[in-house]
């Protein structure tokens, strides 16, 4: 293959993904239509995730005015926000609840997009940026979890980082030391401490938001450019205008979402589902308290990690990630029906591990309490 034909192919590829003739307001907004069929509800999930992201940005900025990212002050400043600042508890609860809701929406969005074959040509870029956004979202969850510097946060982060080091045992020779080096680079010192807090803070507040803004821009741009994917095998009988009909419906969903979020944030402190001492300030000299668990959205890797040998998880999650990234090409000619079944299996796995992970753990390991 000559260089010329290679360049031409690359040009054609890009032209198909970013059609110049469609780069205008008319085709991206005015002409855009949304198919109406029995899976149409899936079209609202991405928007809902975007809404919770906006809530995260606003509440996050508000928290930033009071939060202090130092080992000595982090926990006290979070307590100060919840106990003394007017509306501080509400803002903090909204930030935590909205993070959970955002991740739930993102995962549902992933599954429905998969089931609707929304990654089909020419939407590969949309899918890939979506997968990138998924990782960023989990990154937000992981880094944000440490910031209150309480027992559960620090200990869970320790365990999470330590599992990087576990990879070392499967690597040959000198490479066995690399994961340890990686872990220490991430945490900035030998143990989780001030350096880790500073780094996680920087990542949570600056690095990830910028990365997210870039990827999200590309993601939304592609969505508007290519329009909604058809979603079902037979051409849908009815379409509705994106602007203003679908947009208004989307905004109504946002309204309901805000109402639910506000109600939850007002009535349920985020901590109410975990035993009390886990939210005490981290004590470097005491023993690790019982019941250290990651956030619910990590259960789907956490419980298998508890049950199976580390190597199996390593290979399994590596394959899963590879599959996610290669989805547009792996499932190019799979029918939507099969994709729906696969998505259902995925959803069942995620829900099962999230809701019944602990029970499954006790069934296999015994000693349920």
């Amino acid at each position: 293959m000559s260089l010329y034909s290679a360049i031409k192919r690359a040009k054609d590829y890009a032209a198909e993904r970013f059609p110049i003739e469609k780069l205008n307001f008319h085709s991206m907004v005015e002409k855009k239509e949304v198919p109406v069929h029995r899976l149409s509800w899936g079209y609202y999930l991405g928007g809902a995730a975007l809404f919770f992201l906006l809530v995260q940005i606003v509440t996050g900025l508000m928290l930033l005015f009071y939060y202090q990212p130092t080992v000595s002050d982090a926990h006290a400043s979070v307590e100060y926000i919840s106990d003394y600042v007017v509306g501080g508890a509400l803002v903090r609860n909204m930030h935590s609840w909205s993070s959970s809701m955002m991740i739930a929406c993102v995962i549902a969005h992933l599954l429905t997009a998969f089931a609707m074959k929304a990654f089909e040509k020419p939407r590969e870029i949309t899918w890939l940026t979506g997968v990138g956004l998924l990782f960023l979202t989990f990154g937000f969850g992981f880094t944000g979890y440490l910031l209150p510097w309480n027992q559960i946060a620090v200990n869970a982060t320790k365990i999470g980082l330590q599992s990087i080091e576990q990879v070392g045992q499967y690597l040959p020779g000198q490479m066995a030391q690399w994961p340890r080096a990686i872990r220490e680079t991430i945490q900035g010192e030998a143990a989780v401490g001030q350096a880790t807090l500073s780094r996680f803070y920087a990542i949570h507040v600056i690095v990830l938001p910028f990365a997210l803004a870039a990827l999200l821009g590309l993601h939304l741009f592609s969505v508007q450019l290519h329009g909604m994917s058809r979603g079902v095998e037979d051409p849908p009988r009815r379409q509705e205008k994106f602007f203003p009909m679908f947009l208004i419906k989307d905004l109504s969903v946002w309204g309901v979402a805000f109402f639910l979020l506000f109600l939850m944030a007002l009535c349920l402190p985020f901590e109410s589902f975990s035993p009390y001492p886990l939210f005490e300030a981290f004590d470097p000299n005491g023993s690790t308290p019982d019941g250290i668990k990651p956030e619910w959205y990590f259960y789907f890797v956490y419980y298998p990690l508890e049950l199976l040998p580390f190597g199996v998880i390593l290979v399994g999650s590596g394959l899963a990630m590879l599959m996610l990234l290669l989805t547009p090409w792996l499932f190019r000619s799979t029918s939507r029906k099969t994709l729906r079944i696969l998505a259902l299996v995925g959803a069942a796995y995620f829900l099962g591990m999230t809701l019944f992970g602990e029970d499954i753990y006790h069934i296999f390991k015994g000693g349920g309490q």
């Binding site: 508000m62 005015f65 009071y66 130092t70 080992v71 000595s72 002050d73 926990h75 006290a76 100060y80 003394y84 600042v85 007017v86 509306g87 501080g88 803002v91 200990n155 320790k158 365990i159 330590q162 599992s163 576990q166 030998a190 143990a191 300030a281 470097p284 000299n285 005491g286 023993s287 690790t288 308290p289 019982d290 250290i292 508890e306 390991k365 000693g367």
Partner: protein
Amino acid sequence: MIDAFLLVGLPYLALAVCVIGVIWRWKTQAFSWSSLSSQFLEARQLRWGSTPWHLGILVVLLGHGLAFAFPRVWESLMSHPTLLVIAETVGLGAGAMALAGLVVLAFRRLASGRVQAVTSTMDLVVLALLFFQVLLGVLTALLYRWGASWSTTTVVPYFWSLVLLQPDSSLVADLPPVVKAHLVGAWLILLAVPFSRLVHVLALPLSYLWRAPQIVIWSSPRRAAKMVREQRVQESRREFLKGAAGVAVAGSLLSLGVLEKLARFFQGPKLAGEMETVLLTKRLHRIRMTAEEQALQLERQKSTRILIGRLSELSSSKGKYFIDFNMAPALAFLDANGLPLLISAKCTHLGCTVGSEVNAQGQILCPCHISYFTITTGEPNVGAPAKTPLPHLEWVVVDASGKDLAHRGSSGAIQGSLQGVPPEACSVYVARPTEEAS
């Protein structure tokens, strides 16, 4: 004598005439039960007269009625200076409004030929009665301030004495002539009720509150059609304005509330001195803890051995936590031979801190993923998530004079013995790990 008639006789007379007269009128002239609207004769001045008059007089009557009906409640309310000022201001304002309305109405009745055509003598009498009555009321409010309060010990008991058929005019006998005239005016108006348009006071057309507004007009087909058209336009405009105003008010209230909260969020809390002290104490404590941590780190950099405690403080059933040379938690136990046993407490699985309680099998538990470690060997139990043993640490036991009695080297061999020195006199140190020979 004249007082007795005006303040006792007249009221009963007025009341009797009013009751009998009203019944008589209801029985004989039910259809005259009206104030005989003259709106279709003249509407503009009526609007500017009737509306303030009725609004004003309703508020004033409500105030009078409350004071008479619930004297105790009213009195206790009026003992509150703020409420008294509010009641006086509202009452005077409403009275002035009613008076202004009456002036407009009187002018209209005297100036408009059309209205005069339907004006009876009784209408003029009623107008005059009401005008003087309201004027006297306003004068009372202006000249004899705080009537809302002083009336509770004069006029109200007088009123109740009449109601309870034990009339006592002495309660109001000493009041100024203006106030007395106001009282007499009230009874005269009562007397006039059955014989005038005032009977409409006794009708309570509640349905007016929600029925569509009606306008009385000359009936001519062309004009009626025009009025209907105008009415419809006005209606829809009114509905729109009502809706828009509702949305605007709700929206601005909501944003006002949100903005207020936002402003207060960024303003930060205003703490009382005591609270500030609590917060500062807490902060200082945390900073001290951090400082201690860093002091420990420095100590580990500088010295080759670090004190854990007296040998007598150690126990074989519960470990004592300390921080080892890797800044990781470790536990100190008493071994079977009376010497210390130092073991790392950082789980070899995922780095949790192992618990300090020794169970019956001589094991300590890592709570994170349930690994039991035997303290004498450091080995985890079979099938535990942790695969490698917890390492033992090197230690030195020193007597009171600072002489090394015994120590454990990197190979695990113990050299020396306590030589009979009591454990209370022995200090246990963790030693900096010697460079691994292997």
